[in-house]
Every structure is written in structure tokens, then in C-alpha cells.
Symmetry: C2
Subunit: 207 residues, 2 copies
């Protein structure tokens, strides 16, 4: 749809918003008109927050998580366990796992998974730096917390092979029926695996 904007400023702002993923031109226009109704100062804060973020953001030199300083707050926290590293795809997964409050070790952000279809090979990911962290010693367990997809499984296997010489425990997240799922609607592969990997009933009471 051709939008005969009466203002080049408006058109420019709409174009910029419409570049965002999942934001079409209609939504972009709605958002821009919303901003027009806000105080000038609050719109300025919005624009500057984005510019400042992109300009000043750093990545932790240890785990590659997003950070305001050279070492992120999770890597510099003295109360976390140094002997266990949770390997995740992106910083989003760090947040998701932190929200569970079930993990008190360190993280390692790969920056994605191996995906030949998207042209992402092992060298595009932070795998070498993970191997380096492990070879420096002190680490007893690696938890591979990648997506349960083919790409995730491929990456799991690649990292497993790379870390094999180091004689540490390597685990992956449990696969099974999601909590709250009705069995009738659970897919066959998940259900099949959860039968194979069935666990003693009394172990389900573990904290």
C-alpha cells in the first residue's frame, strides 16, 4: 500500500520502525503517531537509549554475555560456582535460565548454533574460547543448554567431541514431557524419549 505521507520526517520515522522484525508499515505508523503524542523529552530519552545502547554496549570477555563493563556481573559475582559452565546460544537464554533460579554456576554464550543452511560454522561461534576456558582448568561440568533442534544437537555433538580430551562431565538439559502438558497433545518423539529416559518416581521430589 502506497502511503502518501504529508511529511518527510514522518515517512522517515515510519521507514525506520518498519525495518524492525515483525513490525509492518501499519504498526510502524501507529507507533510513530504514539510517539508524536508524547512529551518531547520522553521521545528524546527513547531515541538516545537506543543509540547509547548500540554505542556503549560491551561483551563480557569471559562468557561473551552482554555487559556494561569488560567482565559481566554474572562472571564477576563471587557467590557463583566456578566449576560449572552452562553453554547457551544467546544472551536471551542467559536471562531465561537466570529466571529459573536453578543454576548458580557461570555461563558461556556461543552466539548461535552451527547451521550450515545459514552459513554458520563452528568458527563463527565462541567454541574455541569455551575449549580454552576448560583447558585452563578448574571446571568440572559443562551443561549444554542449546535448543532441542537439529542445529542444537549438531552443536552439542561438536562441542562434546572438542571437550572429550578434557575428561570433564558434559551434560545436556533433560528432554521430556513439558510440565503442564497433556499427554494427548505431546509429540511422539518427545513422548518416546521420555519413556526411554523414564526416571524413578521418588527422584521427581528432588528440589
Amino acid at each position: 500500500m502506497n502511503q502518501p505521507y504529508s511529511s518527510a520526517l514522518l515517512e522517515n520515522a515510519v521507514n525506520e520502525f518498519a525495518k524492525l522484525p515483525g513490525i509492518g508499515r501499519k504498526t510502524a505508523l501507529r507507533l510513530v503517531l504514539h510517539l508524536l503524542r508524547q512529551e518531547e523529552l520522553s521521545v528524546e530519552n527513547f531515541g538516545n537509549a537506543i543509540i547509547k545502547l548500540r554505542k556503549e554496549i560491551k561483551y563480557c570477555h569471559v562468557c561473551h554475555n552482554i555487559s556494561d563493563s569488560d567482565t559481566c556481573s554474572l562472571c564477576s559475582d563471587p557467590n557463583r560456582d566456578d566449576s560449572i559452565i552452562c553453554v547457551v546460544e544467546n544472551i536471551k537464554e542467559v536471562m531465561v535460565i537466570e529466571n529459573t533460579h536453578q543454576f548458580k554456576g557461570r555461563y558461556h554464550v556461543l552466539g548461535g548454533v552451527i547451521s550450515p543452511m545459514d552459513g554458520i560454522g563452528p568458527s563463527d561461534l565462541e567454541i574455541d574460547s569455551l575449549v580454552k576456558r576448560v583447558s585452563e582448568g578448574g571446571i568440572q561440568e559443562i551443561i549444554l543448554a542449546l535448543s532441542a533442534t537439529m542445529e542444537g544437537d549438531t552443536t552439542n555433538f561438536y562441542i562434546f567431541r572438542k571437550l572429550a580430551p578434557h575428561n570433564i562431565k558434559i551434560s545436556i538439559l533433560a528432554r521430556g514431557v513439558s510440565v503442564g502438558d497433556e499427554l494427548e497433545y505431546t509429540d511422539e518423539i518427545t513422548l518416546g524419549r521420555s519413556i526411554i529416559n523414564r526416571m524413578p518416581f521418588n527422584e521427581t521430589f528432588k528440589p
Copy 2:
């Protein structure tokens, strides 16, 4: 959901995005992470486009449409008909009507409709300036193109009363079955009105 962001910059940007209508914290995070992957220059353009828009935008002093100059391009276009004014709620409706290519007159943007529930009375809208435009002469017809809601109808009636002394033609958009609608799913009020306002079949061929 509590999000333990590892960066205050990130948290700030997410907070700003989450203020936009229809954008929750999850979507805000997705958009911010997208921006982080973009070139620094393009993110700067995005932020500045918004700030510049809010700072430099003007409203046309004739029709109150959004504009880069004091008089908008629609009001200053010499090829448009000065004798007919289409009254709309907001600048969005100007765009929608312009897209139909069926109207070549001028516009008048009210800035909303009368809505006592939202505390919007006639004095909050650009009704007085519309009456002034009409009283200055040269206008033969006013098209009321407001929403077909109770608030729209109330506003139509209020403007109709205000303009009654001026002896000009006042029309509203045709109400009826939408083009492409199946009759089975058309609501009763619309269907009822479209029977009352039925039109000669040969008139439907008009351009």
C-alpha cells in the same frame, strides 16, 4: 517476569521500547537484540529519526494535518478543489482516504471525536477552526468522514448543528455492506440500514 538483565543499558532500552503501545517486555527485548546486531550507523539513524520527528514536526495551520512546513502539501496543492472539505478524526484517516484516490478536495483534521467517557469535549477538537474556515466562504460541501461509532455520530451531529447556519451541503460517508462481505456475516444494524438506504442498481456503476 523479572528479567535479570546483565546490563543497565540493555534494561533501559528495553524499558523504553516496552512503553510503546502493544509492545510487551518480550517483544521489546527481541527488538533491542535485533538493533544490537545492526550497524552502529543504522541504529543511530533510527534513534535520530524519532527524535528529529518529535522535535521538528509541525501541524498545518489550515487543516491541522501533520506537516514539515506551516502549510501542508495537501493544503498548498493548487490542483485540489477548495470548495469541498473532508472532516476526519486524525492524520491516519487522511492517509487512508488519500489511498482511495477518490477525493480531491481539502481536509480538516479534528484531532479526535467527542467522547465524554474519555473527557474529550468539543473544545478539545478543531471544530471552531472548521467553523471559521466555512464562515470565510468559498466552501460548498463538507464531508463528515468520522468513524461509524456512537462518538463519531455524536461529533457528526454537533458539527452539523454548528454549520447549519452556513447553508452549505453537509454529507456523511455512505453506510452499508462492505465490498467483499458475505451477507450471512454482516451485522444486523448495517444490513438494516443498507436496506433502508438501498440505491438504484444503475447508480452502482458510477465511477
